[in-house]
Symmetry: C2
């Protein structure tokens, strides 16, 4: 017996970006969830700052706009290389973000602010029910195997120790800037746990029984260790320092992202940040090692080679030490710094967890599953995308809308991406840390020292450029599964535009030639039929846990076939056999589980609002009509034409039905028609959704963020 016991549907361990993203979904889906963190204050091991396009799209889908509006947007990458005369020259400029890949571009901002926006959003949308509980240390975890197949059981028991303030405050946090150093080199997190002794009478213990547990507790994940999972991968001897400071310099590109290779002094990545700060990733060719075996005077002159093994002496990696390395690389440009905000050092390595869950009851995510070097800005983004993938599935299962089988897709979808990331990082980080072989002036004396250990800067630039699309997070393609309808017939071999001969298989229906199944449904501007407001289609499909069937009705005006199809579909939706009715609890709004959005291609002013069947402009229980489900691909008054049909590769004479998951990925592309809905679409949902048509709706199933009975209207026009 423990003094306090409680039940919760989802227990999230760790309140970094991955944990907060999980909690964010739980808040929106009305799930009974808790999020705990062992630290007593919002400080963190890692200090990520890069936000990729897909992450920004996801933030937007949650209505979290602070990151994009307050961050520093990065526009351009400049490559600097040895000029063969002892100096540097700018060898190339490229856009930082692939043109047209997203409505957003890569940007950077302090991780702490991102966490604050998350926390604010979680508290608001959960109406105060979910808030980060700090100073809560998980002590043991147990899965009752006899209960794992019961939907209503709480098979996972986690014993939690509530820490007092002093214990919960990580000891590296004492006014010092470098609160991230301890992440870079393993070892000392365990000491927080060593003194914990569960006793039955101690009221500082709580035994939490959970349906599901999500471990978002970082690279040294306690949850992962409890599950007995070992990371796989390797590390290198390359050591890099990180410095956030305001630079004083005559280097002309200091406010651009720069990749600088010096001839022999190592490399630097420059990342311009908000409030005049610049982040520098600086290769440390010499690092102090093995402090225990050194005398004080030896420590101060320590300069063991990066190639030597043994532990790096973190206490002696100071901002001054890192800056000195930077000054050599920047030569002949001068650089000094002030306003040091943070610094750290890390040893490059790439590791992936081979297993991401135990019995589909305990999951791990984020850094607990994959670690790598930070320069491509992938760690925080990939971590959040892990739980963006997992969160809605857990919510669906907890809400009784879907069978727990869908949880299997989490590891399938995310682990492949983690391996891709690790491979990309392996290649890029070696090219970044290697000494350059090809110099501008091949007649120079340095050129003659080129050996096989040196790397090609053309190859570096090519890998960097190729990696941009991957790094954006926008080209992930989830495999065929319960949630991805990828029939063989639409498998399409695509020549990798960068690699030449390499081939990728995408699942592209001829009905929508630019909407690959398995990838995120890209956005396009459409205009509301009722109001003539221009909207990004993605803004009409916020992350609120709903599925969408986007019905591209075509240029139906004066087209008998398309008009008849619209009538047929409306009749199907109104009929008692409608798949939507099957999966929607009694009394809930008709669009609360699956929403139909109609996008036609006739001129807006050629069609009256009241010509559309009522099924597409449904009325709520109070008789109030929904004016925000019918859109048109037409000119707007002030924002031009979105050309959505063209962008998606849909023929206005034919139309298309696109099934979109709650996380915005395309599940299926099918021809329009009631038979598509009654046939393949219904079959698709039948495989994992639960017939809830006889169940009474509970309040959570309204998905209504606005409270009470207010009309939900997408106010954010362009």
């Amino acid at each position: 017996m423990v003094a306090q016991e409680s039940n919760v549907d989802v227990l999230i361990i760790g309140a970094g970006p991955a944990g907060l993203m999980t909690a964010n979904w739980m808040a929106r889906a009305g799930i009974n969830a808790r999020i705990i963190d062992k630290r007593s204050s919002k400080i963190f091991a890692g200090q990520a700052d890069g936000l990729e396009c897909r992450t920004l799209e996801v933030f937007r889908s949650f209505g979290i706009d602070g990151p994009w509006n307050s961050s520093n947007h990065m526009q351009e990458v400049c490559f600097w290389e040895p000029d063969g005369k002892g100096g540097l020259y700018r060898s190339a400029r490229i856009p930082d973000t692939v043109k047209g890949i997203s409505r957003f571009q890569q940007c950077v901002i302090h991780q702490g602010r991102i966490e604050s926006w998350f926390i604010e959003s979680i508290e608001k949308t959960s109406r105060g029910k979910i808030t980060v509980e700090r100073g809560m240390l998980p002590v043991s975890i147990e899965i009752d195997e006899s209960k794992i197949s019961e939907a209503s059981a709480y098979p996972v028991s986690v014993l939690i120790k509530k820490l007092d303030e002093d214990t919960a405050l990580p000891d590296q946090y004492g006014g010092k800037v470098a609160n991230g150093l301890f992440r870079a080199f393993e070892g000392d997190q365990e000491k927080y746990y060593s003194s914990v002794e569960p006793t039955e009478t101690d009221s500082s213990f709580e035994l939490v029984h959970a349906k599901y547990v999500v471990g978002c507790d970082g690279a040294h994940s306690w949850v992962r260790k409890q599950l007995g999972i070992e990371m796989e991968g390797e590390s290198t001897d390359y050591v890099w320092g990180v410095l956030d400071a305001v630079p004083l310099t005559d280097f002309p590109d200091i406010r651009h992202r720069c990749a600088i290779h010096s001839a022999d002094s190592g490399s630097i990545m420059v990342i311009p940040r908000e409030h005049g700060v610049v982040r520098f990733y600086i290769q440390l060719q010499e690092t102090p090692r093995d402090p225990e075996t050194q005398t004080e005077s030896e420590k101060s002159s320590s300069s063991a080679s990066a190639k030597s093994s043994g532990r790096v002496d973190r206490s002696r990696i100071t901002p001054e030490f890192i800056l000195a390395a930077a000054q050599k690389i920047f030569y002949p440009y001068k650089i000094d710094i002030r306003d040091v905000r943070w610094y750290t050092a890390y040893q490059i390595g790439q590791r992936v967890s081979p297993t991401w869950h135990k019995q589909l009851r305990v999951f791990i995510a984020g850094d607990a599953c994959h670690t790598h070097s930070p320069k491509a800005g992938q760690g925080m983004n990939t971590s959040m995308m892990d739980t963006f993938n997992l969160g809605w599935k857990l919510a669906h299962v907890c809400n009784g809308l879907a069978r727990s089988d869908i949880l299997e897709t989490y590891e399938d979808e995310r682990k492949k991406n983690a391996y891709d990331l690790i491979n990309f990082d392996y290649k890029l980080s070696r090219l970044f840390s290697g000494k350059p072989a090809v110099l501008k002036d091949s007649e120079s004396e340095q050129a003659s020292s080129v050996g096989s250990a040196r790397i090609s800067l053309q190859e570096f630039r090519r890998v960097f450029e190729m990696g941009k699309a991957f790094a954006s997070g926008c080209i992930i393609d989830y495999p065929s599964s319960l949630l991805e309808y990828k029939p063989k017939e639409i498998a399409t071999e695509v020549v990798d535009p960068e690699g030449g001969t390499a081939l990728v298989t995408k699942y592209i229906s001829p009905i929508a030639t630019n909407v690959p199944v398995g990838m995120r449904f890209d956005t396009a501007q459409v205009v509301s039929q009722s109001e003539a407001n221009p909207h990004f289609l993605s803004d009409l499909m916020p992350s609120d846990g709903r599925w969408r069937i986007v019905y591209f009705a075509g240029d139906f005006k004066d087209n008998m076939a398309l008009t008849d199809t619209m009538t047929d579909i409306a009749a199907y939706l109104d009929s008692k056999d409608s798949l939507i009715k099957r999966f929607t609890p009694q009394g809930a709004k008709s669009d609360s589980v699956i929403e139909i959005i109609l996008i036609h291609a006739s001129p807006r002013t050629a069609v009256e609002w009241t010509e559309f069947p009522q099924a597409f402009r449904p009325k709520d229980n109070y008789g109030r009509e929904d004016f925000w489900k019918i859109y048109v691909d037409d000119e707007s008054h002030h924002n031009g034409h979105g050309h959505a049909y063209k962008k998606y590769g849909i023929d206005p004479k034919k139309g298309a039905l696109i099934v979109v998951r709650p996380d915005g990925y395309v599940s299926a592309v099918l021809p329009i028609g009631a038979d598509s809905l009654a046939g393949p679409v219904a079959e698709f949902f039948n495989k994992f959704m639960i017939d809830v048509s006889t169940r009474k709706a509970d309040p959570f199933e309204r998905w209504d963020l606005y409270g009470s009975d207010e009309v939900v209207q997408p106010v954010l026009a362009l």
Copy 2:
């Protein structure tokens, strides 16, 4: 002696939009200011909802983005007219906002939310120093004429009574929706004052001595009455009802702005709002009158003509009464409502105050200066623009930067606009309230009933369309003054595009043919030289109290004359004679009073950052360089080309110097060159600015919103 006495630089009476806009300036300028309101809670007499383009530009300039992001944007106006067969037809559609007049379009949102965003912003930017003090009733006001010429004196004394909760709560606020009714018809506000008796020992009294007082206390302004100013103008017998509710209707344009004229049942304006609500302005052809003289049964059947004089019985104008009038006008379309949020009724009239201040020490603004009908969405907007005009001038004087003469320009600049507004409203409201003469089917029997009292619907549509530019707030042209350098030579007669023969005189220099002096400096996209980020130029010139000299340096690369000019200007700015140094206190940042922004027209990548003279990328006291003062009119990576030179009518071979006021209006357009700065620009500033070069800066003069010593960087890219 009063129990409590205090001094304040600026006392603002009334915390509606006009008062909050004043406080907003005070907060940003670091002025010692207070804002009081007699009501104990944030409710209000008027419930405006329309936001015009210029207001949205101003909000953006203060970093207040809630209104645009959360409001309903209006795209289209539909005109509905009698079809001659007893029904209605849509005679025309036009864009609601003039294309290209602003980066924003007209939008609508509940006034209460606008006030909340203001209050939040004021508290944040004043760092908690300025907050609305409620339940504070001004009882008397006195100006000590012996002190009015002393800059450091507090010549205005206002006695304030602190009300208890019950007294301060307006009695129309008791769960009833119609808290706006009392505004529409004069008379009963005085009762709040009648019981107040100042006594010397009562601690609920405070005597506030102010340098300046701003009366923003509404149409029945107490401040105005104390100054003995009578409004001038007239009222009509037209009575309109207002209803905010969710409509249930088969009218197809209910989510568009509509102007509906029925044949004989009156007119309606439809304004679609947020959360499914629609605002209806409904002409009441029959209104209940004179309740005292009627029996109960007479009251219930009251139907005195709108033409009859006498007081309207407000208590009997209910939502049901207003809806019944609407149903007749909408016929043959059906309409019902639910979720009534608010309703009121008003009698159309137009009045202007002939005087807007007393001895430049007490000012009135907003509804205290002008009242009119609400349908054109002008009241709240014009009121805020009054104090947007006054606020920075008061701040300049209080901060000792400018002589008090500049305060004279407030009435000169704003009163003309008020008269224009009243004339526009007079014309439009009569056409809106009049019965239509021209029917679609001129053969119909109704057409034969046309008399001289009936109005032309073509004329109505023409006036409406013409009025859109005026209503946007973007075409105001302030007259020649201390603050507007409008030499005769640049007076240019412009043919009114709508009127044909009517002529307007604008002050347009051939140097910048699209930058009229006296009008607001329109925005254009430019790209930062240091970061390649696209920005709206207006976002680089936030409302923080600074003047700007925008130096269009032209395509200077490889152009000897333009390059020499840049060198000359830099030398002038660095010299001890620089006009900027004269008006900037010692120790303050060099850009804290007048900021130089350079925009060149050479290709971005043809110029290195370090080629620009240091004067245009100044360093602060810590040696940190400013990377956000040099921009280029060039292609961006993801947001196209702004073509700013073309938009402004500036020749890239010649350039231009544009002096912009702290409120964004163009003060002067001059040729580039150090002699322009040393000559006309210096002369311009000499006339009203105070030489503060020997004064030590106080903290307020840093205009630094970010606190401490952080670098101020415009993070909001596109």
